[in-house]
Symmetry: C2
Subunit: 246 residues, 2 copies
């Protein structure tokens, strides 16, 4: 089968997904560019850590929804790793705890971060859209929405260097990212393999690509909201985090 309705071959599918990442992944977002240039102040990093905490905190719920929708024990065994990575296991901390330590390293108190009281509404809406996606779109789309991890290793490696260089006072706050350097590529490989084997028709492949696009929009919208409230301003919506004067 060929023509517009023919399924893409695996390498073509991979190339298309990477193209979406090149265009829409948040490595290009001006908030990240400023961060990596060392141009953000402490209050801006605090706003980022506090808001991004909300995203981190719902990841296990997101993955549990996917787990709940799978009827395949082997898939569930593999996917469960993500929940362990973020929630931790026994004495081992997970990504959420590491993110709290990053926020603490910016100078925020743990309670203030965990309460979520000062999150930008637009960030909350974008993150909740991710839960909505994995709940209400097809299982294939739910899995495909995680494929931003195809692009995250490179961004994280760059970020670790930039944060160490420009914000040395963050100290050990970067453990979250060093852990993700290994976790994210493994997760991405599993998810891509799943999509490559299970998105059999061109329509299903198109859905997978659309889900990845939606996920990129979800990440991008969070940074737009941060940029508008804390960089360009703009203004801070009522009730949201207000940085202390520096």
């Amino acid at each position: 089968m060929s023509g517009p309705d023919a399924p893409l071959r695996v390498e073509e599918l991979r190339a298309r997904l990477k193209e979406i990442g090149r265009e829409r992944y948040h490595h290009r977002h001006p908030f990240h560019l400023l961060m990596h240039q060392g141009a953000l102040g402490r209050g801006q990093l605090q706003a980022w850590a506090l808001n991004r905490y909300y995203y981190q905190s719902v990841i296990p719920s997101k993955d549990a929804i996917i787990l709940a929708r799978s009827e395949d024990r082997n898939f569930r065994r593999a996917w469960r790793k993500r929940i362990v990575d973020h929630d931790g296991d026994g004495p081992q901390d997970g990504g959420i705890e590491r993110w709290i330590r990053l926020a603490e390293a910016t100078g925020l108190g743990r309670e203030r971060v965990v309460s979520g009281d000062e999150i930008l509404p637009a960030v909350r809406f974008a993150v909740n859209a991710y839960l909505d996606l994995v709940k209400n779109r097809t299982f294939l789309e739910a899995v495909a929405s995680s494929l931003t991890e195809l692009f995250s290793r490179e961004l994280i490696a760059l970020r670790i260097d930039a944060l160490r260089k420009h914000y040395p006072w963050l100290g050990g706050g970067l453990d979250y990212f060093t852990a993700r350097l290994e976790q994210a590529p493994a997760d991405a490989a599993f998810a891509f393999d799943y999509i490559a084997r299970n998105a059999c028709t061109r329509a299903e492949q198109d859905q997978a690509m659309a889900a990845l696009t939606s996920k990129c929009d979800i990440l991008w919208a969070q940074l737009d909201a941060l940029y508008f409230a804390y960089v360009q301003p703009g203004w801070i919506p009522a009730g949201a985090f207000v940085p202390a004067k520096e």
Copy 2:
């Protein structure tokens, strides 16, 4: 009963709700202030009409979710009016059709508006948060979230005058608003009466106030996204509406 846990009396509850509106309702949003001063260009009004269409288009779904959650036939008979108002009845157009005509009056084609393809992701996420609220929070909160209509008549009256004065080329595109001048206060009176009678404890009253606050955040976030993409810029996210050069 008195003290911090005592239920508020009806007039005190009304005053508290109005106070939330004074602080958080989007009549204060700079995008609206610019609109009412006549300071927006055609492309900016198009972006507003196109994005706000998405909000208008889900209102009957929002109200049908509330209808579906009610076990009271009399409540359902009254609430059903909202769906009729927006979807129309027989030869009578509803609010959605009138909004499309407003968008057409700004110079956009109907198909382009109705497709929803060019909506800002942040607007989509905020509007979907409204659906999420009426689905997943208590019934009382779902009803209370409609109480922004307590404040809308005044904003709409102001807007009709301002749009006629500053953008006379909108012509008959303002029918949506003239219809809402009568619909919104009737809806608000019913919803307020329902809350006043059914939010019996202070905790329930607090929930109702929190739901109204959330709804204000939902409206505000839509305008923040419009302002960032089309007024201050900022930038327009990938895939979103790009106004023609004026």
